[in-house]
Point group: C2
Chain length 201, copies 2
């Protein structure tokens, strides 16, 4: 097969353009930069190969872990509270919750959210694994730390429904004005939720 | 060396975050997507390796070309006008100008612009190669198709100065209101330049 140079470049741009949040023009610029700077391109190839060979997902919570470990460091940490489980959409969200520094329980990553538009149903997510963890006992609270959009809200509702027979407390993150912001920067929905969730001072 | 899974992920995000227009959060999301979807990761690795092996730059104009060709398809095309040269910052800009469909001359990619902030001086660009092409004769006009910002303007000014003794016409792209836009969407500098460059109807 004989491809011209532009075709090779287009394939790189196409692969980058399928990543989240990367538009066509952005992918083109990245592709050009990579062929223009071979040191940068080879570094990227190497780190991708290393991650591919060494990163896998925790069989219990879905967090990332090294290839030689079935369970991630959070799932084997005896200091963590096993009775409370924080449910997130993506493994990357686990680090964000950890960085907040207030949660000491364990996690469960769904690996996405229910999205009819993208063809993602409940069976494509780790919801059955969540039910199994709760059914096996010892868990008293499930904190839903999902995003705030229509699909995530529907996912939260679905999970709450599935957990109802299991007599476990289901909570979700408070919705309100972000710290360091003000009501003049908040959209009406955020402001409405902040009002509904108002707290005594 | 023993690295944990997060470290592998961080290295991928770091490599992606050095690409143009990719911020920290965007790089993190891309890295997570890649470790979550290994087919996508392996496709990216393969296309990068293919591009690395098969793409090089035209020794004359700097355009991308295949590894087996010294000159790109535009430099060997006998139908192109050799007396007019379009100077661009990046090889990627050549395709943008080509797509406009009105330029039938040849190109010269500088491989960047003069940027004291990023430590890029005239000697880091293909300016000497441009002077050599003009000196060798047969070129009557140089069209500077650079971007419109302080650094690009300075680069254009520097090149025009270097070309002055060579008795070649130096032009630059018209500055004005983009097609399909209106004056209410234009910033004052764009509007000012459009006024200065006003044309008889």
């Amino acid at each position: 097969m004989c491809m011209n140079a532009l075709e090779y470049l287009r394939r790189v741009a196409d692969a980058l353009g399928r990543l989240p949040g990367i538009g066509r023009r952005s992918a083109d610029r990245m592709a050009y930069r990579l062929v223009s700077d071979r040191a940068q391109m080879r570094t990227l190839i190497t780190v991708l190969q290393d991650a591919d060979a060494n990163v896998r997902f925790c069989v219990q919570c879905g967090n990332i872990t090294t290839a030689d470990a079935d369970l991630c460091r959070l799932c084997v940490d005896p200091a963590r509270d096993t009775s409370i489980l924080c449910v997130v959409e993506d493994p990357g969200d686990i680090l964000l919750v950890e960085n907040a520094g207030v949660f000491r329980g364990r996690y469960h990553a769904l690996m996405g959210r229910i999205s009819p538009m993208h063809g993602t149903g409940p069976d494509d997510l780790r919801i059955a694994a969540l039910i199994a963890r709760v059914t096996s006992g010892g868990i008293r609270e499930i904190v839903l730390a999902l995003n705030t959009n229509v699909e995530s809200d529907a996912t939260a509702g679905y999970i709450a429904e599935m957990l109802r027979p299991l007599k476990v407390t289901v909570t979700r993150l408070a919705s309100g004005i972000p710290t360091g912001s003000g009501i003049s920067y908040s959209d009406p929905v955020t402001l409405g939720r902040a009002l509904q969730g108002r707290q005594a001072v």
